[in-house]
């Protein structure tokens, strides 16, 4: 593991542990009250969900262009994190919506496109696991669809009628709500980096192991 890994993992663990205290001190939103505080975990999860989709897509493009297995390993690790952070987004959102909107789920552009993106990531992982030899390139092409969906998810609230807040809300937040939000965004970003590195490490060691088995067979 690189030298930066242990300090970054320690910092991100501490920030994650402290984050509920930071959120508890944030101001209450006037109409939604306590339940609005789900926002501080929901939105960073959603941003990392989209970031992981982009990382997976870019690594897949590089793998398709160069054939370098390092990019393939990064894409696989990021694909798994798309599913994890997508799940967090798709569960915390409805819990907030149940109180704020009166329903767990509405089929608006953002929720539907987020669900589609998450299902593409699930399909990517299933293809990688059960697709057999040569499925890497097919899965890489699937990852491109997941990445292409990201801008659509982000701007959908500005172009379609929805009760999701528009993208202009975050820059207008007062400091007492903005600070906990950015604290959680940095925390989730560090969690993503640490988990991505760990997951890539698993794939690297697995590739080394496969190489050793092959060399044994050739003897």
């Amino acid at each position: 593991m690189p030298k930066w890994f242990t300090p970054v993992a320690f910092i991100c663990g501490t920030m994650l542990a402290v984050s509920p205290l930071v959120i508890a001190n944030a101001d209450y939103e006037s109409t939604m009250g306590l339940v609005q505080k789900i926002f501080y975990y929901h939105m960073p999860s959603a941003w990392i969900f989209l970031t992981a989709s982009i990382v997976c897509g870019v690594a897949s493009i590089r793998y398709l262009m160069t054939g370098d297995p390092r990019h393939d390993r990064t894409a696989l690790a990021a694909g798994e994190l798309v599913v994890v952070f997508g799940l967090l987004t798709l569960v915390t959102g409805p819990l907030w919506a149940r109180k704020a909107w009166g329903t767990f789920w509405i089929w608006d552009a953002r929720t539907t496109s987020s669900l589609v993106s998450w299902m593409i990531a699930c399909a990517y992982l299933i293809l990688r696991r059960y697709g057999g030899p040569g499925s890497e390139k097919l899965a890489a092409a699937l990852a491109l669809f997941g990445m292409a969906n990201v801008p659509f998810i982000y701007i959908s609230v500005n172009y379609w009628r929805t009760i999701h807040p528009a993208t202009s809300v975050v820059p207008k937040l007062p400091f007492t709500m903005g600070f906990p939000l950015w604290f959680c965004v940095i925390t989730f970003a560090l969690v993503f980096i640490v988990l991505l590195k760990l997951r890539v490490r698993v794939e690297e060691q697995q590739a080394r192991l496969d190489g050793l088995y092959l060399s044994l067979d050739e003897r």
Binding site: L88, T92, W96, V191, L195, L198, L212, S215
Partner: protein
């Protein structure tokens, strides 16, 4: 591989059954007596802030909030455990194979 597939099928079956069981529980009972128009609440056609709703229409926020936070932390914790377990297994296999290759080289 089949074992993992069977495990995933079992998880999906549990999720599906729990979803099917919970849906009828949320629907209103068909035997409930019909209410007269006079006893029905007046049509709501304007925005009412959530804190001004009558108590019977208010939903407790704390269980939803705590549920969301516990879910996020639990999923992240379980994922870290899963990755750590996979890394430990691969590392152990690698060490064992390294030792086998070295011993084979000496022989």
């Amino acid at each position: 591989m089949m074992k993992t597939l069977k495990r995933w099928c079992a998880v999906l079956a549990v999720v599906f059954v729990s979803a099917v069981v919970s849906v009828p529980a949320q629907q209103p009972s068909p035997q409930s007596p019909p209410t007269s128009p006079a006893s029905q609440p007046s049509q709501q056609n304007e925005f009412i802030p959530i804190d001004q709703l009558p108590p019977q229409e208010q939903l407790a926020a704390a269980p939803l909030l705590i549920g969301a936070y516990v879910f996020v932390l639990a999923v992240l914790f379980l994922y870290v455990l899963s990755v750590a377990r996979r890394l430990t297994n691969v590392q152990r296999d690698l060490d064992r194979l390294d030792t086998t290759i070295k011993q084979g080289g000496r022989a």
